[in-house]
Symmetry: C2
Subunit: 142 residues, 2 copies
DNA sequence: TATTGTTATACTCTATAACTATA
DNA sequence: TATAGTTATAGAGTATAACAATA
């Protein structure tokens, strides 16, 4: 293979892989009557309550887009807005028990399906994949 | 590393990588005043005209969802619906010159950015990644 | 004045169900 | 009757711009 061919195939491979992962999210979300964005939000909140601004940054959304997303989650009883006593402009988006359980369940199922996908890969390939993806992600941070 | 840890890291790595790739699509689309779905549609059509049903399957969409997507692309002069002479119910969605050029440009830019992301990877790692992703995709087909 | 978050508005994407026209 | 595609309707996600309340 020439370098050019390797690169072209690499881009195609990355796109295919991304589609596989996205489809897992879509399927897992759908089975729980959620959207991928809602699951992603629940997963972020599982680390603890965060304000709207910080949550918007974590999701790469405008604050105004987040308002509706949190509204819908709140309407379904999965999160609540807790007013911050020290800064009365702010609120902390907080998982309810139901939201925490659903987020945990969805996260686990996504992991299981991705692992199942890679199940037949030799262990050496898995380690190599983790390491390579780690390098790619680090590259992006810089 | 235990096998369990390897698997958990693998799922996380795949999700991170998928987000990176999606972000590239979003950025490239946005710079061209398009959506990721529109770019994806143009890319599929670059292989040649296809009917609505086949295009919907390729995009994993309901036919009715595709109608609007093609409407918007047509309104912007990027595709046209060509009536099939042999089956007057059907139409072939076809790229215009502008649509072909834009799709080609976007596809090239996505590839360039993904390649740039992987630029510092050793060549052996790239080949390994292509091969591993090929196995994963094949696993998914089954 | 700056920051936190919401509202108003407009558009895209998507699905389900019912429909039209053709085969 | 079956198939190709559209229309009607509803809801989710997103952005920009203008706004309110608080710091």
């Amino acid at each position: 293979m020439t370098a050019a061919v390797v690169q072209s195939q690499l881009a195609t491979a990355l796109v295919q892989l991304s589609h596989l992962v996205q489809q897992v999210f879509i399927d897992v979300a759908r089975e729980r009557d959620l959207t991928p964005q809602q699951i992603q939000t629940l997963c972020i909140l599982s680390a603890g309550p965060v304000g709207m601004g910080e949550l918007a940054r974590a999701l790469y959304l405008e604050k105004s887009s987040l308002t509706g997303l949190v509204d819908r989650l709140e309407r379904r009883g999965l999160v609540t807005r807790v007013r911050d006593a020290r800064d009365r402009r702010a609120c902390l988006v907080t998982l309810t028990d139901a939201g925490g359980a659903l987020g945990c369940d969805a996260h686990g199922e996504v992991s299981r399906r991705l692992e199942a996908l890679a199940d037949r890969l030799p262990d050496a390939d898995k380690k190599q994949l983790i390491s390579t993806v780690g390098l790619l992600a680090a590259e992006h941070e810089a």
